[in-house]
Amino acid sequence: MLNKLFPPKKITLPNGKIVLQNRSFIPYIVLFLVLCTLLSANFTGFSFKVLIDRIDEFFIIVKAMIPPNWGYISKVWKPLLDTIKMSLLGSLLGALLALPIAVAAASNITKSKVITVVSKTLLSILRTLPTLVTALIATFIFGLGPTAGAVAILLFTVSYVGKLLYEQIETVDMGAFEAMQSIGMTRIQAFRYAVIPQVLPSYISTSLYCFEGNVRYAAILGYVGAGGIGLLIQEGLGWRDYQAVGLLILVLIITVYIIERVSEHFRKKLI
């Protein structure tokens, strides 16, 4: 249809043959993007003048964080461990819970169309809710503290691992599954011996990857009262105790780096 609106360019070759070259839409796309950028800049009040005049405020805060206040470290351990526990618990339970939901959402294993569509929709909606919002709702139900954070992380993990897992299951080689059914295994047995070995490495790898990300998320959940190191960060920024914030960020970076390294080691082994 687009070719009818913008007729392709005709090029006559030296031997008299006519070839058609499709029009490029890149100029229009670029124009559209520039227009969008200008509109959003206008809408959000973006101004280079303010940025240039006042950006040093940002670096003043960064400078105030260095050197970090090492005396503060005795207060950091418990919230830090809480953060790790929260993300560990949420990721573990979430990954386990994702398994049945992913099976229910995989259209080659579950024959009922209603169940697959409902599970897929559930996973998409869960995924769109920002973790901080779920954490905030969870604090109303489970009270302030790491429990709410663990619940929020659990929900996010279910949606993330669940989506990637059902996509894996749907692309699995079904030959082995059918062969096992044909020699008299039940569907569950066939699933256990034909599908699980194919998806298990990527399932564990996805879960580990999700855990890595969850440690980062867990660090801010304290901001809404869901436990962990976020509460200290909020306090430090609120009281302008930037040296403490510097230490918290440093500790967080080291923790995340170590966890990433360990998880990367295992993920490389799996693939």
Binding site: T44, V50, K85, M86, L92, T128, R216
Partner: protein, 269 residues
Amino acid sequence: MNHIEKQLSAAPRNLLYVAVISMMVAALFVWSLTAVNVQNIGQGGLSIAKNILYGLTHPNMDMLLNFSKQSILYLLLETIAIAFLGTIVGAILAIPLAFLAASNIMPKPVSWLTRLLLIVIRTVPALVYGLMFIRVTGTGAFAGVLTVGLTSIGMLAKLYVDAIEELDTRVLESMTSVGCTTFEKIRFGIVPQLFSIFLSVIIYRFDMNMREASILGLVGAGGIGAPLIFAMRGYKWDEVGAILIGLVILILLIEFMSNYLRAKLVRGE
């Protein structure tokens, strides 16, 4: 012993390894259980849960459907604008950093230092940047744009680097051999290889930034987050329901579009 049994017995036995890892995971699980405390979910929690469910199923339609400055449509538009402009800022700033971090172009110390910087940028939580930028620009959407831009740099640059390190340099060699200038080599040798990957990464990041921008309001950096948290703190669950429904529909739409565009880019149309 027939052929199949031989194959079976030849399979590697790493039972001990699996057992040790499982034990470790189980131990970690028990350890992490000490963080949760289920005593204080009392009657209060349950009734609140009921209220939330009621609010989500009976949203405040009035708020959802008008066009004033406090309406959800206006706030969602602001959130999109923050995410869009932030993505553009981040995408542009990430390009030089990515070339500095690519180990096949830059000397080792430079690329290592840039990578360290990227890890630091990526790990600092977005809300911390938000609070810092508010000191620069005052509360409002502008602080949100800067925050989204800065947080995007970390991931964008990392994915750019992967693309740059996989560049096919044989193309450049053959272009040198036919006498192309440096500019021509960049324009026809490097840009076509990177452009579609970069674009696909940027679109993916825009999708993520929508979520990021929707929570920045919690610290006063514009977007839909602030009204959401006010409605929650005030227990106005019908407003919370309306805002969440608007947000979920918008994010699903953008995700759908982003998947469609990226699939097209990968197929190379």
